[in-house]
């Protein structure tokens, strides 16, 4: 039977598409071939489109599971068959997934989780955009762990970011979270879909050493990083995975502080050592700025207009947009804080990344804020008001 190519499936290559659709196209181009999920507003379109496309592709499998816990469990398990796997959800489902995200961190299993944020807490406002999950993305699962989280602010960026999320997951053997929101998920913009051969795929590094010398969580066999080579089910290495603290041989070791510290510190270091590769952001109008707006996601789409209005009135305002949310661009914020008078953090929650900006600006400048909840995207006028506020 002749194989169907992703290139053929995604025709026409220029579409008027939503953010959710762009994530699906990105995932397919990134060679994601297993998706397990559960319906939830405003992420359901990702589930539905995966159900439509994956069974047509070679090795493609799709499952609608009984809940979000089962969904993420299935994608973590399948990842060990050398599959690129993904699930997508929104706040309530994302909360259910937290324990399993910790298991993916502990077993260093690559996978991609999409959290299309809606207004919370609890069931909240299912169709309204919000940015209330930012800290949950970072600290939702219990215990010390590190995480990579990316947040697009448009449809085209959603596609490329999804491809990048899979590459980062495989490169660092971590769950990568794509944060989106109900506005980006459902708004339509022009989307140019690249051909398969225009997409770079960074594959996970397989185990190649002879078996007696192999230990699942030893690093540095073939390359000098803190990311171990990754085994696949069906090979000769017989890797054992556990959520318990384990030594480099994967043997459970629950009493030894040193073993635990070595393991968990490595989880941190494998990300921290590569911050330059992982952290991305966008700077606008930063030359000569003495006020810098910090924003991300849908909230960042109104900043440009606000800045243009403010600059016409003589305010020297710039914009720092986070694209990688976690790890947090701490050094960049610190550097900026030494040069400016004031940060204004604009976010659709009651203050989450605000606290990180306060922390890393280290008292060097003022940190003001504009918080907007209930699904209301802040307007340029709202932002202008905060810009014009006298510095405290």
């Amino acid at each position: 039977m002749k194989e169907i190519q992703v290139d053929d499936l995604l025709e026409p290559k220029i579409k008027f598409a939503t953010g959710n659709e762009a994530i699906v196209y990105g995932a397919l181009l990134a060679n994601c071939r297993f998706f397990a999920g559960y319906p939830i507003t405003p992420a359901s379109e990702i589930l539905e489109m995966m159900a439509k496309y994956l069974p047509l592709l070679k090795g493609g499998y799709f499952l609608q599971m009984e809940d979000e816990i089962a969904s993420i469990a299935a994608i973590i398990g399948a990842s060990w068959n050398n599959y690129r796997t993904m699930t997508a959800t929104s706040g309530p489902g994302f909360s259910l997934m937290q324990e399993n995200i910790g298991f993916a961190c502990m077993t260093e299993t690559p996978c991609v989780i999409v959290d299309v944020q809606r207004s919370g807490p609890s069931t909240g406002q299912p169709t309204k955009p919000a940015q209330g999950d930012i800290m949950e993305v970072r600290w939702g699962t219990h215990g010390d762990h590190n995480i990579i989280a990316l947040y697009p602010n448009g449809v085209q960026e959603s596609l490329w970011m999804t491809i990048r999320a899979f590459n980062l997951a495989d490169k660092y053997r971590v769950p990568v979270i794509i944060i989106s929101d109900a506005a980006i998920a459902h708004m339509r913009e022009k989307l140019v879909i690249p051909n398969q051969d225009e997409v770079d795929i960074i594959k996970r590094i397989p185990v190649t050493i002879e078996k007696p010398k192999y230990h699942p969580f030893r690093t540095g066999y073939t390359h000098p990083t803190k990311v171990p080579e990754m085994d696949t089910f069906g090979k000769k290495y017989h890797t054992y995975l556990t959520g318990l603290t384990h030594d480099w041989k994967a043997h459970p070791e629950t009493d030894d502080a040193e073993v635990h510290e070595k393991l968990v510190r490595r989880f941190y270091e494998k990300i921290e050592d590569n911050k330059d590769d992982i952290i991305t952001y966008q700077e606008e109008y930063l030359e000569n700025a003495d006020i810098v707006i910090v924003s991300y996601g849908i909230a960042s789409r109104v900043i440009k207009t606000a800045i243009e209005m403010a600059r016409e009135q003589g305010y020297r305002v710039g914009h720092f947009r986070l694209i990688t949310i976690w790890p947090f661009p701490a050094e960049e914020i610190l550097d900026l804080s030494l040069e400016i008078n004031k940060f204004i953090v604009v976010e659709m929650n009651l203050g989450q990344l605000y606290h990180s900006v306060v922390e890393y600006s280290n008292g060097n400048c003022q940190v003001d804020k504009l918080f907007s909840i209930g699904g209301k995207i802040p307007t340029p006028k709202d932002i202008l008001k905060v810009i014009k506020k006298r510095i405290l």
């Binding site: 069974p55 089962a70 969904s71 299935a74 060990w80 068959n81 069906g234 890797t239 995975l241 959520g243």
Partner: protein, 294 residues
């Protein structure tokens, strides 16, 4: 001829991890041997063998096997196993779980994995208690039992897991005690060979947390003498799938005795067979549509 225990141990177990963490008198060690003998009889390739478990005493089993093992989260073994088996049907996937792991926190995954008829073998070690956390009631603890969390006696009905599996549509269900060595090995072999979800429930002693008897010998007597074979109990009955009394539904007992035996053995297409057929059909339809268009 049956192989020597030493020979099997060297081939199938990670001897550097022995002795196991299991308490003296626990039935899980016996079950480990039954599984080793079953996979040896079937000559299953250890490279393609994945043991998946949740949390609890029986879930510590995969660590000891020289094969792939995933010790997942409490209750989630079947959801992990589903993802693993669906994306690589060549693997032999065996799930170890316990009564708390499977029937309390993981009950929905149990029923849905059966509903999908994923081709895996689920071995549930039912010791009617939460052994690892020190003896709280589980969904299979009998009514009237005194436990740490029912200090004045348990007033909840308990589950009959095998009948639950049967009602949900499992293609193979059997129920034994750890004293029924030969039957257990045969059932595990049958379960692995069966296309679809096979459920094997094994009643197992927990002399540490569920002290039914002081003397370990009494467990053996109880298992061998106070049990009734399901097929014998229902001999000549017109229908074996209708519950006869409350005892069967809630305590897995018939006329006061523990029900054992093969509960179900039937054939229906497993998930992978149906998915492969669907895939072939829709890909053909896709190309037909394309050629019509061109």
């Amino acid at each position: 001829m049956a192989k020597l225990t030493e020979e099997l141990r060297e081939k199938y177990l990670r001897t550097d991890l022995l002795p196991t963490i299991f308490c003296p008198g626990c039935g899980i060690g016996q079950i480990m041997q039954y599984v080793v003998r079953a996979i040896d009889d079937l000559e299953i390739n250890q490279d393609n063998l994945v043991f998946v478990s949740g949390i609890g005493c029986s879930s510590r089993l995969p660590a000891y096997f020289e094969a792939y093992g995933v010790h997942t989260l409490h209750g989630r073994a079947l959801a992990y196993a589903t993802g693993i088996k669906v994306t690589n049907p060549d693997l032999t996937v065996i799930v170890f779980t316990g009564d708390g792991d499977l029937a309390a926190i993981g009950l929905s995954h149990f029923l849905h994995a059966i509903r999908r008829n994923i081709d895996i073998t689920v071995i549930c070690v039912n010791n009617e208690t939460y052994g690892m956390t020190g003896g709280q009631i589980s969904p299979t603890t009998s009514m009237g039992t005194i436990t740490k969390t029912t200090p004045y006696s348990n007033i909840e009905h308990s589950f009959n897991l095998s009948f639950l599996a049967k009602a949900a549509g499992a293609v193979y269900v059997s129920r034994w005690t750890t004293a029924h060595s030969r039957q257990v090995i045969n059932s595990i072999k049958k379960g692995i060979k069966k296309k679809g979800l096979a459920f094997i429930e094994l009643i197992s002693p927990c002399p540490t947390s569920n002290r039914r008897y002081e003397d370990l010998k009494d467990y053996l007597n109880y298992y061998l003498n106070e049990t009734i074979n399901y097929s014998k109990a229902y001999k000549d009955e017109y229908s074996s799938h209708i519950f006869k009394d409350l005892d069967e539904c809630f305590t897995a007992r018939y006329q006061g005795k523990l029900i054992i035996g093969e509960i179900t053995d039937l054939d229906k297409p497993d998930y992978h067979t149906l998915y492969s057929q669907l895939k072939e059909r829709i890909i053909n339809e896709y190309w037909n549509k394309r050629s019509e268009r061109d």
